[in-house]
């Protein structure tokens, strides 16, 4: 028997819970050489910026234990090229697309939202709040509830109501729940977590930092426990808010952890660098794990680990009642 893998990101239905993490699938064309993108629940684009960006100098990548550091610097051709070439390509194929946006000021985020508001093919808008706020001494938006809320409120007021606005949160904050709450209060329809925590590695041959940009975002299996913790805490505090769980998902079991912690959608990032087919494999493995545990629907597993110890899973109770004579 197959498991019903459909899930809802706010009011938008996705065929399955697996999406790509922003910045790990470009705009889809590269992965399309390997498999049909329709098999993803949704594709999340890299973070689109207003102007073309050349990014940071190389070396931009360093492998670390069970992970990697990256300092790419949101390289991309800017919103014009995205609207001209990349989004239509996805829209024509009917691929569910979560567009990620990044900016340095609230006005920049608003302008990006304005450009995307009428563009066909935007399933949801993910607001990358881990950009430095150039109007506030380069402090990261996601590190402050009020700064994050200001961006979300502005973007929410511009985007059409049938397009969910997703706030992407960073884990290196004192209290992720307060930032999450600020974003939801400002109108975020869903939350996505976690963005890369900041890390650093030093090349012991060159006796210098391994990355040209010195620090970079840490991703890969090393950050999975961090993601599970953040999803858990936010789901506990805001149980009604749909969550996209992202961070070091390499297998269906990793995805299952995030689902049990409260995520209804799971983002796959670094695993794509290791295996271009990772999303399909993880979706299949997640379905197998659910089936093996008697779940008929993915939705029944979302946040299930929060139930008090000793209580039986709800779906299993329903089954016993039905089978009782």
């Amino acid at each position: 028997m197959s498991v019903d893998m459909r899930t809802f990101l706010a009011h938008v239905e996705l065929a399955n819970p697996i999406t790509t993490a922003a910045g790990c699938a470009s705009s889809g064309r590269e992965l399309a050489q390997f498999f049909d993108l329709h098999r993803l629940g949704a594709l999340t684009t890299r973070s689109i910026t207003m102007a073309p960006r050349a990014g940071r100098p190389t070396p931009r990548m360093a492998e670390t234990p069970s992970g990697m550091l990256n300092a790419v610097g949101l390289q991309g051709p800017g919103i014009e090229a995205f609207l001209e070439r990349e989004l239509p390509w996805l829209a024509q194929r009917g691929i569910k697309t979560i567009v990620s946006i990044g900016g340095g000021t609230v006005a920049e985020y608003s302008e990006l939202a304005r450009r995307l508001a009428d563009a066909p093919g935007v399933t949801a808008l993910e607001v990358n709040l881990s950009c430095p706020n150039i109007e506030d001494r380069g402090r990261i938006f996601a590190r402050e509830g009020s700064a994050a809320a200001e961006v979300i409120a502005s973007v929410r007021s511009i985007m059409r109501y049938d397009v969910p606005v997703v706030a992407k949160l960073a884990p290196d904050v004192a209290d992720i729940v307060s930032v999450a709450r600020a974003c939801v209060d400002a109108g975020a329809d869903a939350l996505s977590m976690i963005n890369n925590p900041l890390g650093m590695a030093i090349d012991t041959e060159a006796l210098r930092p391994s990355l040209a940009a010195v620090t970079g975002g840490l991703s890969g299996p090393a950050v999975l426990p961090l993601a599970v913790r953040c999803v858990w805490q936010v789901h506990a505090a805001l149980p009604g808010v749909p969550l996209i769980g992202i961070g070091g998902v390499m297998s269906g079991r990793d995805a299952f952890q995030l689902v049990l912690a409260g995520a209804c959608v799971v983002g796959v990032g670094t695993a794509l660098f290791h295996d271009p087919y990772a999303c399909l494999r993880i979706e299949r493995e997640l379905e197998d794990l659910l089936r093996a545990r008697g779940f008929q629907r993915l939705a029944d597993a979302v946040g299930l680990a929060h139930r008090p110890p000793g209580s039986a899973p709800r779906h299993l109770l329903v089954d016993t009642e039905e089978s009782a004579p």
Partner: protein, 283 residues
């Protein structure tokens, strides 16, 4: 495409390791210049990025085999060097853009430094099949680090070897020997692979002689398929604008004079989207 390949043979070639892997789908799609990426460390590894390798040889035996040549640089390549016959490897490929080949028979000089030479042998075969004349210039730090000298001698019109310590062939670098080889062979084109510094110098020689140079760059990559954006180098496009382009997807083969070698590792101020310069959006 992704295949699970089976290691057929492992051997040492000079100072390097060579692995022959049965990888049918990859072998039949391969063109000279393509590379493959290999997952290292096994199923429960802590190494999350793939390693990219140029392909030294492709044979139709066993449905198709590819041969990779590499040197141990870190934990990933050390793991790969320990593979034995019948072990399996996760390969993705063929990746990248291959070498463009001349339409008509031409005189081509192939320049390789260290194990970068490996990628030049399938190219030489393809050029010879088109009736081109092939001459090799191979070099390395010492005799044991010059890759493929024997095979080059067998297939090429001439083979010039250089070593920095003088232990084999001429003392010096490949670029010291290159001008006279180009002059003697009246070369129409140069193909090169090796470290960035060598490619920069080879390109300079080619420009002096006013002949095209095709270079295959070696840059650190995480994915090899064009999504991670970590392997970018500054390249001048057809429109004259410099862009940070991916060595894996737009490369690894570029026209030498288009690559801004002296700016590799930086974002040139005039590159598209460079901070404080280039094309800025005005809203």
């Amino acid at each position: 495409m992704q295949v699970t390949g089976t290691v057929l043979t492992t051997r040492r070639v000079d100072a390097y390791h060579a692995l022959t892997v049965v990888a049918p789908g990859i072998a039949e799609r391969f063109r000279p210049g393509h590379f493959v990426s290999v997952a290292v460390g096994g199923a429960y590894t802590s190494m999350v990025t793939r390693r990219a390798f140029s392909v030294h040889d492709v044979k139709s035996d066993y449905g198709g085999t590819v041969e990779l040549v590499f040197t141990v640089r870190g934990r990933g390549t050390a793991w790969l060097a320990e593979r034995r016959a019948r072990d399996t490897l996760d390969l993705v490929g063929p990746l990248g853009r291959p070498f463009p080949l001349p339409r008509d028979p031409a005189h081509c000089v192939l320049v390789g430094a260290e194990y970068g030479s490996a990628v030049l042998f399938p190219l030489a075969d393809a050029l010879l099949a088109r009736g081109c004349r092939v001459d090799f210039v191979l070099g390395g730090a010492g005799a044991e680090r010059v890759f493929g000298a024997m095979r080059a001698r067998r297939i090429a019109e001439t083979t010039t070897l250089t070593t920095e310590d003088g232990s084999l062939g001429l003392r010096g670098k490949v670029t010291d020997a290159l001008p006279s080889v180009i002059a003697d062979t009246r070369a129409d084109a140069v193909y090169a692979c090796g470290p960035m510094e060598t490619l920069r110098a080879v390109t300079a020689v080619g420009m002096e002689f006013d002949i095209p140079v095709q270079v295959a760059v070696e840059e650190r990559m995480a994915c090899g398929i064009g999504v991670c954006m970590t392997c970018v180098i500054p390249v001048i496009g057809d429109d004259g604008a410099t862009r940070m382009v991916r060595a894996c997807a737009e490369g690894p083969v570029f026209r030498g004079e288009r690559v801004r070698f002296e700016d590799v590792g930086t974002i040139p101020f005039d590159a598209l989207g460079a901070p404080g310069g280039g094309a800025r959006h005005v809203s």
